[in-house]
């Protein structure tokens, strides 16, 4: 199938290596010093983005990234992400964080998707993370799909295989480390990604320079999005009561990681 487009809904979150300390910030809970923390692309959305980039390479369609977050932080994250794969950014400026109402975010995301110039939804897949590192509720993407009238939805996706006639197969995660195999007759559809199988692409400054030509104006034009929901209240916020023991290793293989976990379990 040619020219199939992908729109990836991708938020940003504080770098998980940072101290994430919930505090009351005005009316709402927030993280201590959240705006000063370095941010990263939400890891789940990241998987969606890299899978999407591979897919559009195959189809020759366009790749869009739709993001709502604090402009200054979005720009900072783009300095890395823009070097990974070619895409066009559509952004709105709003306080991010795990305490915004997911429905409000979904409404605004859907609005941004609708505004993409010349986008034909019937020839488009809507990607995102099946949940996010800040909220973990797994609700946003489903609502975006519903608002846009895209009701073929798949969550916890690890793989998509496209057929020549535009139909595709999807592997979705289910319990017990197994996958549910589904077939879909074609776009439009919503795919909420788990990890997929692709590694993070290395930085490529040439891609970055090309992307930035459209990303910077997109950021400058980003309009404020209203995420307030007066009906939403928080009664309590706390970190999960588990011991956090962080160890930093980079680039080690999945086998080595698995072995370490096995050794740890055996030692308990």
């Amino acid at each position: 199938m040619t020219n199939l487009n992908v729109v990836v809904c991708a938020g940003i979150v504080p770098d998980p290596l940072q101290t994430l300390d919930p505090v009351q910030t005005g009316e709402k809970p927030g993280l201590r010093n959240e705006m000063m923390l370095p941010h990263v692309l939400d890891p789940w959305a990241g998987h969606a983005l890299y899978e999407a980039a591979e897919l559009v390479k195959e189809t020759g369609g366009k790749l869009y990234v739709v993001s709502i977050g604090p402009k200054a932080k979005l720009q900072q994250v783009m300095m890395t992400i823009a070097q990974k794969v070619p895409f066009q950014l559509i952004a709105a400026d709003a306080a991010a964080g795990g305490f915004s109402d997911s429905k409000q975010i979904a409404v605004q995301l859907a609005e941004l998707v609708k505004q993409i110039d010349g986008l034909d939804l019937s020839n488009t897949l809507l990607f995102g993370g099946w949940e996010s590192a800040s909220r973990g509720a797994g609700t946003t993407l489903q609502m975006v799909g519903e608002i846009l009238g895209v009701t073929d939805q798949f969550q916890g996706v690890d793989k998509i295989s496209l057929n020549d006639d535009g139909s595709f197969k999807v592997l979705e995660r289910i319990e017990g480390g197994k996958h549910l195999h589904s077939s879909c007759s074609g776009a439009p559809a919503v795919l909420g990604w788990a990890t997929g199988y692709l590694p993070e692409p290395p930085n490529n400054p040439q891609i970055g320079m090309t992307n930035m030509r459209t990303i910077m104006p997109a950021l400058q034009q980003a309009k404020p999005a209203d995420l307030e929901n007066p009906e939403l209240t928080f009664t309590a916020v706390e970190l999960p009561k588990q011991k956090r023991d962080t160890k930093i290793v980079k680039d080690i293989s999945a086998d080595e990681i698995a072995q370490e976990i096995i050794d740890w379990i055996k030692s308990k």
């Binding site: 923390l37 604090p70 970055g208």
Partner: protein
């Protein structure tokens, strides 16, 4: 009391170091950081530094540099690079990010650029296309061998180091048939040549040993040229082991077209267009600043591991988790905090000085080209004629600076002379102070980590960084060479007039910013200026001029003193920039006050230190250069008294900074392995 929310991140740094509006540089920083804190850090953590040999693990870093764009940073887009315009600042940021983890990795990547520098500065168009284009990593589908270079100047003892008039390496005519390009025989032994394990071309400095070749030059040797290309023995380095260093031996035949910058033939003699000195000068001008930033990065990188160590020091015992001893650990102790603040302050000053110098060279590079063009158009030749013309412009520049410092400079030649005079000071100052004082401060950082500091697995590799800084003080010209250069360039009237203008500007600023030690810096600057004037106009008891090239005890000490002032000055400039531009960044604005207040306190700490170093050096020279007190009336004592009055409150600044260090939020863990 203010709050320092977190350690300063990219938002703040890009404002202070002036690249908030240059996204290509922000992207570069992210790319280099990923390599530094990924493969480089892993290599160090896995012990790759523990061998002198060039190993597979080390060579994999070259691939990481290629893939992430680090290798191509140096190149202009026309040769396959991706950054337009001068690259000094871009390379400075690259070196900073790599050295944040390991400066040997930085050296490995930068030595390739060092090899290309002679070609970049003086090479013929063809040489540029061949070697700069060839050094860009092949793109997908491109089938060619990538050029990787080495820079061969230093020779085995007892021959030459980096500042040299004579060379042991020789060039002769091997074959020169009529109407054909001469073939040259090049003999060169190198010592401590970086990249020598894998370089497939080397730019060597040689002197003529043949009546048919005039003077000295630099020549490009390729691995495949006929003759001996012996990579030699590896250097048994105690430092920077992720870079490759060997003592190679070359004896090869190459076409004369490999003379860097080309040549002409006159009366049967080959006249190289550039002597080796004419090539090396601009090369080192561009590469030494970067080395200074390597040490600066180490100092600032030490802050986070030190704070984490201090806080966690006693958490293993049976302490109550809510007790101050549990929460703060060694941070309960004033001395540990004050010293941490001092390390940080020195790191800020070194970074600010180095980045200011790098940015200045970005401004200077196009001006230099303009100057060349202008002089050639005017029929003014290199050498004496150019020197004379420049002297005249220098006077105009001084007049301009004396009359109206702020007025726009209409004449590009005057602008060039002003910028050049400053660059000629900032380059050796960065190299000298950042590395020399940096090594001393790095030792302090190591000791703050106790026994851990001196082990291989100290978080942040602080022990290795301490040792590494000593190399940075040595290669590309040891400290003596930098002091010598400074002792000349800092007495240029054009520079001194700018320096005088800074004093005025700072005095004005101190009225509105009374809380960052500006007045103590101004005192130091006045002490230095008065002392210099005294030394330049007085003689010792043997009737020798006090300030002269043979009296390094005087000139070198004054060079050291100046560096303290410059680094403190640029540190303040960067904080004032943050104060001015911070509100424009939505992420920074809400917490700006705390950051600015903290950085101002660091400025004060550093300014007071700097001014007192200057006071000590100058007092010794002023009062100590004769067996009796100066006859001219004691001009220094009032200034020294003024300085003491101007540091009122510096200890309070230390206390505030110390308290901020106890509360600043740091990440859960260091973002690179140990």
């Amino acid at each position: 009391m203010y709050t320092l929310a977190t350690l300063p991140g990219d938002d703040i740094r890009s404002i202070m170091w002036r690249f908030a509006d240059r996204f290509e540089l922000q992207m570069l920083v992210q790319s280099v950081r990923a390599v530094a804190r990924g493969p480089v850090a892993r290599a160090v953590a896995e012990g790759a530094r523990n061998s002198h040999e060039w190993t597979t693990k080390k060579s994999q870093l070259l691939k990481a540099f290629d893939e992430s764009g680090i290798t191509a940073v140096f190149m202009d887009p026309e040769y396959g690079g991706f950054i337009e315009g001068p690259k000094n600042f871009a390379l400075a940021l690259t070196a900073y990010e790599l050295s944040w983890v390991d400066a040997g990795a930085a050296t490995g990547s930068l030595a390739g650029n060092l090899a290309l520098e002679p070609i970049h500065e003086r090479g013929t168009e063809e040489q540029k296309r061949t070697y700069m284009g060839g050094a860009v990593p092949p793109q997908q589908g491109e089938d060619r061998i990538q050029y990787r270079g080495a820079f061969g100047l230093t020779e085995p003892l007892p021959y030459v180091g980096v500042e040299t008039g004579m060379l042991g390496g020789k060039v002769r005519v091997a074959d020169w048939s009529a109407d054909k390009e001469p073939v040259l025989q090049v003999e060169k032994r190198g010592r401590f040549i970086t990249n020598m394990d894998f370089a497939n071309f080397v730019c060597v400095a040689v002197e003529s040993d043949d009546d048919r070749i005039k003077g000295s030059c630099m020549i490009i040797l390729e691995e495949t040229d006929p003759g001996t290309f012996d990579r030699g023995a590896p250097t048994l380095k105690l430092v920077h082991q992720l870079s490759s260093t060997r003592d190679p031996v070359f004896n090869m035949k190459v076409p004369a077209s490999r003379i860097i910058g080309g040549y002409t033939v006159k009366d049967g003699v080959i006249l190289p267009n550039f002597s080796h000195a004419e090539i090396i000068d601009p090369v080192f001008k561009h590469t030494r600043v970067t080395v200074g930033l390597m040490t600066a990065a180490k100092l600032v990188s030490a802050v986070e591991p030190v704070i984490r160590y201090q806080r966690g020091r006693f958490r293993g015992g049976s302490l109550e988790p809510e007790s101050p001893r549990y929460k703060l650990g060694i941070q309960q102790k004033e001395d540990a905090l004050h010293r941490t603040a001092a390390v940080w302050a020195a790191g800020e000053a070194a970074s600010s000085l180095g980045f200011a110098a790098a940015r200045l060279f970005d401004e200077l590079d196009p001006m230099e080209k303009e100057k060349e063009k202008y002089f050639r158009e005017q029929g003014i030749n290199k050498g004496r004629a150019e020197f004379k013309a420049l002297m005249k412009i220098q006077q105009d520049a001084v007049n301009h600076l004396e009359n109206d410092d702020d007025a726009p400079i209409g004449d590009p030649m005057i602008q060039y002379v002003i910028t050049d005079s400053l660059a000629n000071v900032l380059c050796p100052a960065t190299k000298l102070w950042n590395t020399g004082e940096g090594a001393t401060v790095m030792r302090e950082a190591v000791s703050l980590m106790g026994g851990y500091g001196i082990t291989e697995d100290c978080p942040g590799f602080l022990g290795q960084k301490w040792m590494d800084s000593q190399l940075e003080a040595t290669y590309e010209g040891p400290e003596a060479v930098q002091r010598r250069q400074l002792s000349i360039t800092m007495t240029n009237k054009v520079f001194l007039t700018q320096f005088g203008n800074w004093i005025q500007r700072l005095e004005n600023l101190s009225l509105t910013h009374s809380d960052m030690g500006i007045k103590s810096l101004v005192s130091g600057m006045k002490i230095w200026l008065e002392t210099l004037d005294y030394l330049q106009t007085h003689r010792d008891e043997n009737n020798t001029k006090l300030y002269s090239s043979s009296r390094q005890g005087v000139t070198f000490a004054m060079a050291d003193a100046l560096c303290w002032l410059l680094s403190s000055y640029y540190q303040m400039e960067d904080v004032l920039q943050l104060l001015q531009k911070g509100p424009e960044n939505a992420a920074v604005a809400p917490n700006l006050e705390g950051y600015v207040a903290f950085f101002k306190d660091l400025c004060f700490i550093q300014a007071s230190r700097a001014a007192h170093q200057v006071a000590q050096i100058c007092s010794e020279l002023y009062y100590g250069s004769a067996s009796t007190l100066p006859e001219s009336g004691d001009i220094l004592t009032p200034l020294l008294q003024e300085l003491n009055a101007n540091i009122a409150g510096v200890h309070l600044a230390k206390d505030r900074a110390a308290e901020a260090l106890t509360m600043v939020m740091i990440p859960e863990a260091l973002d690179y392995p140990q």
